[in-house]
Amino acid sequence: MVGWLNFRGLNQEGIVFAIAVVLFVAAAIGLPGFIDPNNLVAIVRSVSVLGILALGMAVVIIGRGIDLSAVAIMAMSVAWYLQLLNTGTSDGLAFAYVLAGVLAIGLLNGFLVAYADVPAIFVTLATGSFVFGYVRSQLITQDAVPVPQGHWVELLGGLRFLDIPIEVFVFAGLAFLFFLFLRYTKWGRYIYFAGDNPVAARNIGIPVRPMLVLRYVLSAFVALIAGLLTAASLHSINTRVVNSTLLYDIVLVAVIGGIGLSGGRGGVRNVLVGAALIGILLNAMTIIDIPLLYQNLIKAAILLGAIIVDGIINPRDEQTAQQGDI
């Protein structure tokens, strides 16, 4: 392993960071208006909701899980909330219902994964479909639910500090909180142990199962925040987003930043790096006016490139592989 020490800085996170920097410099030189402070704010803002969702996803993935219900929870909880408001339920009661619903789904996810031992990928796929199907068919009447005029969600969307939209601050704040949680709290550190080797973690007395439940609840609440911010900005929420590629983009942001799907590795920094790359890439491609089809192609090619380079620099072997590696 000693020979690889020179490349220690060049894990996948490093590679992606390098690509992001190169792209940033190239865009700053080549594209007029890219370096404009307003455009930089727009970049951060465009990935804020994505980044917030990716933070929740990251915590779950580090604990060796995955939450495929995140987008459904995000859209449907807020759609239900707005529907309740539009049909005359008082704000406090409506919000309490929705909080309870989100909590219930998070608990259900966590319980089924932790105690019923069903693989997370199946549990969350199923609960995601359930949440979408139930809310869409029983609780709301239309794909798009508008925010009532003058409601605090609408006002939230117009909130600016120093001309910077509120999403950016929420993203930054949550990123900082997640950083503190993962780095400095006991339960935060335990997530890495549990993700790296759940059996060993359990044997040394870590409450692996309750922690697992906590992570899914956390992810569900993060999704609710992301949904509220989306509705705040657009003055409505469209549940069609559940069918979009947003879910894959969330996993992409987490994974491209270097959070291994096998768990136990990565942190908030990886999410930030992943989000930065996606943000810069999308913004630059929009400025150049590249059609969407090619945008997806380029996005995919860069992801593939990063994985291949990572594979060459950090080859898999018995020492780096873990039990349960995907």
């Binding site: 803002r45 798009a144 117009g158 400025i287």
Partner: protein, 341 residues
């Protein structure tokens, strides 16, 4: 003499006919033939999804009419998933209760072509609604998207005015849906005639409001003097309008879009200045056209796939100035009406 006799005979015959005729009028064969041709016939609507204004409006008007003549009306909800729509059509064709008329809202030019052919072979009339497809359906009812694009471009040019920057931004849907492709072609046709107007950017929203907001933000960042933006659907134009609001360019950028003429989606937003102009589909009339062609096909006796009719809905760019109380239809009212039953 012979001639006179013949004439008299003819006159008698005429007199008899004239005398008998009123009894015929009392027994108009129309209703009976109509009832015989239509009664018990099945009509199925397979839109892109049931969860948006157009589909809910069509379903409302079709159901009312189909059930009135004694038919059954059903809908399927693929929820924007092309495969689910294909599955719904396949199931419908092969089921015992095969629909006599299938109304399809195609997601793109080609996806359902084979299935629609199968449906016609089985004896089901196929009506395409809203989105054209590469298939000779029995009828197409919907917008002429090329013309619709032209109307949008004309509205944008008017909204910009002569003394503006003459810069126009487009937020397209995608590069697969015919409504997006033809709309673009129509817009460009008009802009070719106005060479002083320039399209400065034409990103895709993929019909998603957040994406529309992000690309519009970038567009306005790069070209703050844009005088008009054409977003290809009111379903995602809320994103473009959010970007305009955030850039504090309300009232400076004339936002043009198109939609089904629903009150909350279109008229309310024209009224509050979010949209400068909306090319609205007259949904009630469009549904009426569908009802008429359904009734025609079922009585025609012709096998499915014999004739190909295009019924384009009359489109008009509406601005705040020409808003009338009946410019829009109200989904909430329709839902309340359905709930009251």
């Amino acid at each position: 003499m012979k001639l006179i006799r013949t004439l008299m005979a003819a006159a008698t015959a005429l007199a008899v006919t004239a005398f008998v005729a009123p009894t015929f009028a009392a027994d108009d064969p129309g209703p009976a033939a109509y009832a015989q041709a239509l009664k018990g016939k099945r009509v199925m609507l397979v839109p892109l999804a049931m969860g948006f204004d157009l589909a809910q409006g069509w379903a409302h008007y079709l159901k009312k009419e189909v059930e009135a003549w004694g038919g059954t009306f059903e809908t399927r909800d693929p929820n924007w998933v092309v495969d689910a729509g294909a599955q719904a059509i396949t199931d419908a064709i092969s089921s015992d209760t095969r629909p006599d008329v299938l109304i399809i809202h195609a997601p793109d030019l080609n996806s359902y072509s084979k299935l629609m052919k199968k449906a016609q072979a089985a004896g089901t009339y196929v009506i395409l609604v809203d989105n054209p497809a590469n298939f000779p359906a029995d009828a197409f009812v919907g917008s002429d998207w090329d013309r619709l694009g032209q109307l949008e471009a004309e509205a944008a040019i008017k909204g910009c005015g002569e003394n503006s920057s003459k810069k126009i931004g487009l937020v397209q849907g995608d590069q697969a849906n015919s409504s997006s492709l033809y709309q673009y072609a129509g817009i460009m046709k008009v802009l070719d005639k106005h060479p002083d107007f320039k399209v400065v950017a034409k990103p895709d929203s993929n019909w998603d409001a957040t994406t529309s907001r992000n690309v519009t933000t970038t567009m306005l960042q790069q070209n703050p003097d844009i005088c008009s933006i054409i977003d290809f659907w009111d379903g995602d134009a809320t994103g473009a309008s959010a970007a305009i609001r955030d850039a504090k360019l309300d009232g400076k950028v004339f936002l043009v879009t198109t939609g089904g003429g629903e009150k909350a989606a279109d008229c309310d937003k024209l009224n509050d200045g979010t949209y400068g102009a909306v090319v609205m589909t007259d949904l009630a009339r469009q549904s009426g056209d569908m009802n008429a062609i359904i009734k025609f096909l079922l009585q025609s006796g012709q096998p499915a796939g014999t004739s190909h009719t295009y019924i384009y809905t009359l489109e008009k760019a509406t601005t705040k100035a020409d808003l009338k109380p009946d410019s829009c239809w109200d989904l909430k009212a329709l839902q309340a009406e359905a709930a009251a039953k």
